[in-house]
């Protein structure tokens, strides 16, 4: 990010390639695909616009997700979230994945989509983006205990919903 802030476009390409999927999925789990594309694009636009303000303290990913979090909150304010029903399970075509696994994945994605915003966000940041509890707390502005609690509730709900599959 420091190199990009100094005007190196190739550094942005590297950053984008490394983090784009996690950001896109973060929005996809929280909203529909059209809004996910908007949120994803707005997040990266802000990264570009704020490159001069980046101080290089800590890792880039928490910084990136702090921006994504703000974008998502803006989206929620503009358009309160409704139940998401268009989350798609994606098959990768590998032969070892049978129909039961696909169904379980589809079920799990639906359950994640149905979680309360705060729980889902903590879960996606943790499982998808690989952020630590402390980083999630800093990004979302809650205490570490609060993040742990959200994750615990989220996992408990998912486990209950997946009882027939696991």
């Amino acid at each position: 990010m420091g190199r990009f802030a100094a005007g190196d476009y190739a550094a942005f390409e590297t950053l984008y390639g490394r983090h784009k999927d996690a950001v896109y999925r973060y929005f996809l789990r929280a909203t529909d695909s059209a809004n996910a594309a908007d949120g994803h694009q707005e997040t990266w636009s802000r990264v570009v616009a704020k490159r001069g303000q980046y101080r290089g303290e800590g890792k880039f990913r928490p910084y990136l997700f702090a921006i994504a979090h703000n974008v998502l909150m803006d989206q929620f304010r503009r358009q309160p979230r409704e139940a998401v029903s268009d989350v798609e399970a994606v098959a990768d075509g590998s032969p070892e994945r049978d129909a039961v696994n696909l169904e379980a994945t589809e079920r799990l994605n639906s359950l994640i989509a149905g979680l309360p915003n705060a729980q889902r966000e903590a879960l996606v940041m943790h499982k998808e983006a690989g952020l630590t509890i402390r980083e999630i707390a800093r990004v979302t502005g809650v205490t570490e205990e609060g993040v742990k609690s959200r994750l615990r509730y989220a996992m408990a709900k998912l486990r209950r919903g997946m009882r027939d599959y696991v």
Binding site: F4, G7, D8, Y9, F12, E13, Y16, K20, D21, Y24, R25, L28, A37, H40, Q41, W44, S45, V48, A49, E88, A89, V90, D92, N101, A104, T105, L108, K127, E128, R152, M155, L158, R159, M162, Y165, V166
Partner: protein
């Protein structure tokens, strides 16, 4: 609390559509280029401003006639005595070099004595200076210098030097 079941079941393979990638990368490339362009423009502007300033300073320096430049060292003060002369005196003799007929006009006003020199040829030193004096201070030329009271003012290498 083991999350193994979650990690085994959760699959996340979605990726942004290629056209979205292209849009974001294009925008970043444009912004980087614009930013680099503005950096270059700022650099050129700074260099131009420094050059203009340097030229202005050089002109100011060049516009000052040599005889008017403040001299360094042990020099009598420049400010002229103000007001009408209570006492005046005209002296002619070599101050800027042997054989010259430099004219010195002495004017006493208050407690300042001003010496105005009309150089016979190239100015050798600043053409005027003032020193503290009183009505009974003796002034005369001698030995290529101006004697004011007990002090002798001599033009040395373009500088009035008190001896």
């Amino acid at each position: 609390m083991s999350d193994d079941w979650f990690d085994k079941t959760y699959r996340s393979e979605e990726t942004p559509p290629p056209d979205l990638d292209a849009r974001i990368l294009k925008r970043a490339r444009r912004a980087t280029r614009r930013w680099a362009g503005s950096l270059v423009a700022a650099g050129i502007f700074t260099i131009a401003a420094v050059l203009v300033l340097a030229i202005m300073l050089a002109n100011i320096e060049l516009d000052v006639p040599p005889a008017e430049r403040p001299a360094a060292g042990d020099v009598p003060p420049y400010p002229a005595a103000e007001g009408d002369c209570e006492r005046s005196l005209s002296l002619v003799g070599p101050l800027g070099g042997p054989g010259r007929q430099d004219r010195t006009e002495i004017c006493l006003a208050g407690d300042l004595l001003r010496a105005d020199i009309s150089w016979d040829g190239e100015p050798a030193c600043p053409s005027h200076f003032s020193v503290a004096a009183s009505p009974d201070t003796h002034v005369r030329l001698g030995g290529g210098s101006i004697l004011i009271g007990s002090a002798r003012y001599r033009c040395v290498d373009g500088v009035w030097t008190a001896e």
